[in-house]
């Protein structure tokens, strides 16, 4: 230690350092504590329902506030089904537009196009829901559902009366809402692939298409997967727009035309009228189930990403 390093200003700097590190520690612990406190509070409020129904809460299809019998299965099913429909529609469109915007689009199109797609994510979900209900749903009922019903009606998927509102509409609304997320993240992942990888593939005599499919996409696949999972996360939890177009049925129907509910839409549409510890407790337990599902999805996503990263090893 030299004399110089003991001057007042360095002492002060060291104190400042300490304060800063304590402060950031406090903030991060606070956030973790909020999460845990939230879980505990939800658990306490849901306790009457957990105690009464046990595991049958998850397997039962009843939801009868009058007789106070509650089961979550249709809502869980609706959540997973609508998100699945959303992803099936959104993933190819998002990846396609991400590839186009990053690799193929002429320069003058790139910025405006990605800007517009990202703006889609900024539209409040109630507006998308309103548009969905008054513009999209009638169109889905006639011609789409009527056509599907008359031509592919032998499949359970497309059986039943065409209501318009239902799983199909919810899935399409969700697709619209997650496309900007998946597109933006995939585009960034693709752009981040080093030029050396592209050139190495081109120098082997690859066409542009081969370069994209064999060098670019494999290289950034964990990023692409991350985008899809984030999209799925949003789809699972999306509430307002889905509530407006899913029709608020509570059935376990294989038909995409059937009105249904997701966990989020069920909670949103009933929290206002719920009375009694058991009813409220059941809604809160429903929320906990949604929390568990999204947690599970995130853990799976982490594992997938981690696995592909470790396969990639030490390479750039």
């Amino acid at each position: 230690m030299t004399v110089k390093s003991n001057t007042a200003s360095t002492v002060w700097a060291r104190v400042g350092d300490k304060i800063f590190s304590r402060l950031t520690l406090f903030f991060s612990v606070l956030m973790a504590a909020i999460l845990i406190a939230l879980l505990i509070a939800l658990g306490i409020d849901a306790w009457p329902a957990i105690q009464k129904f046990g595991l049958s809460f998850i397997t039962s299809i009843e939801w009868d506030p009058v007789n106070e019998v509650f089961g979550a299965l249709p809502a869980i099913y609706g959540t997973l089904l609508s998100s699945l429909i959303g992803l099936i529609i959104a993933v190819p469109i998002s990846l396609g537009s991400a590839i186009f915007l990053s690799e193929l689009a002429p320069d003058w199109m790139r910025r405006p196009c990605s800007f517009l797609i990202e703006m889609l994510a900024a539209i409040p979900s109630v507006i998308i829901g309103l548009w969905g209900l008054y513009v999209m749903v009638p169109f889905i009922r006639n011609p789409i559902e009527i056509w599907l019903g008359s031509n592919l009606g032998f499949l359970p998927l497309f059986s039943g009366p065409p209501f318009g509102v239902g799983f199909l509409s919810a899935g399409i609304i969700l697709a619209i809402m997650v496309i900007p997320i998946i597109t933006a993240i995939s585009r960034e992942a693709i752009v981040a692939v080093p030029v050396t990888q592209r050139e190495a593939m081109l120098a082997l005599g690859a066409t542009r298409w081969e370069m994209i499919t064999r060098a670019v996409l494999p290289y950034c696949r964990s990023g692409l997967m991350g985008g899809v999972i984030l999209g799925l996360g949003r789809a699972l939890g999306e509430t307002m727009a889905v509530t407006m177009v899913i029709g608020n049925g509570y059935v376990l129907s294989p038909s995409l035309f059937s009105p249904g509910a997701t966990i989020a839409s069920k909670v949103a549409s009933e929290f206002n009228e719920a009375s009694g510890d058991l009813y409220i407790g059941s809604l809160i337990e429903l929320a906990l189930v949604l929390f568990a599902i999204t947690l599970l999805v995130n853990i799976i996503a982490r594992l997938l990403v981690w696995r592909t990263v470790s396969v990639r090893g030490t390479g750039e």
């Binding site: 050139e199 081109l202 120098a203």
Partner: protein, 278 residues
Amino acid sequence: MINNMLGQTVRIEAADPKHDGDKTTSKYALTVEDLNAWYGNLMVIQNISMGIGAQRITALIGPSGCGKSTFIRCLNRMHEVSEGGRVTGRVFMDGQDIYAPQVDPVSIRRRIGMVFQRASVFPTMSIFGNVASGISLARFWSRRRDLKDVVERSLRKAALWEEVKDKLDQPGASLSGGQQQRLCIARAIAIEPEIILMDEPCSALDPISTLRIEELMLELKKDYTVVIVTHNMQQAARVSAWTGFMLLGQLIEYAPTKEVFTVPKDKRTEDYITGRFG
């Protein structure tokens, strides 16, 4: 004899075979005529004309930014892949101008392979997959023989087989830097090109790995024409038959390596190789 647009007359053929380690100097693998290249509006290659002899090693030396990397990227039509990259002039291969409008750059790159400065192993592929990656590009399926044989042969030629034969399924990125570069060479050889361009292949490697790559180049010239860009003048002197000195996008001097390093004709070449600049 050819005029190199600087008013100097440059011999492009070895008059005396003893300057050249090879006997096959009568044939050019590539003949470059009036080549210019740009990045956007910036002209980086000015009027280069030269013949590149078949089955020997031609080295290009020069200070950083002199355009030597850009120049060899013009030889397999990789320069136009870069943002703003543009080329005029002609490069003849077997009498065919590779810049003729009807020529597909993809087919040129298949005949003229390239090894880059930084080993660009495909990280999601195994060692085997990396070597096979060029061969298994869809349209070569008709020419595809037994993939295994080709991979083994390529790895042997790249002097990597003994080190990796028991772990072909491991990721290519698990290899060391020098091994990765040899893997890239194996990958380039696997598609059986006629010419191999190497853009500073050793600049990121330690001396031992560098030595191995140099030995490999000497081995490769038996079957291939090799063009190497290097910062390392000793390397050029060790491996090449002919050396071109480039400065500010121009080819200043192009002659048998021994002449360039012992009796350079141009003052600027002399200054560079004696370490006065660059």
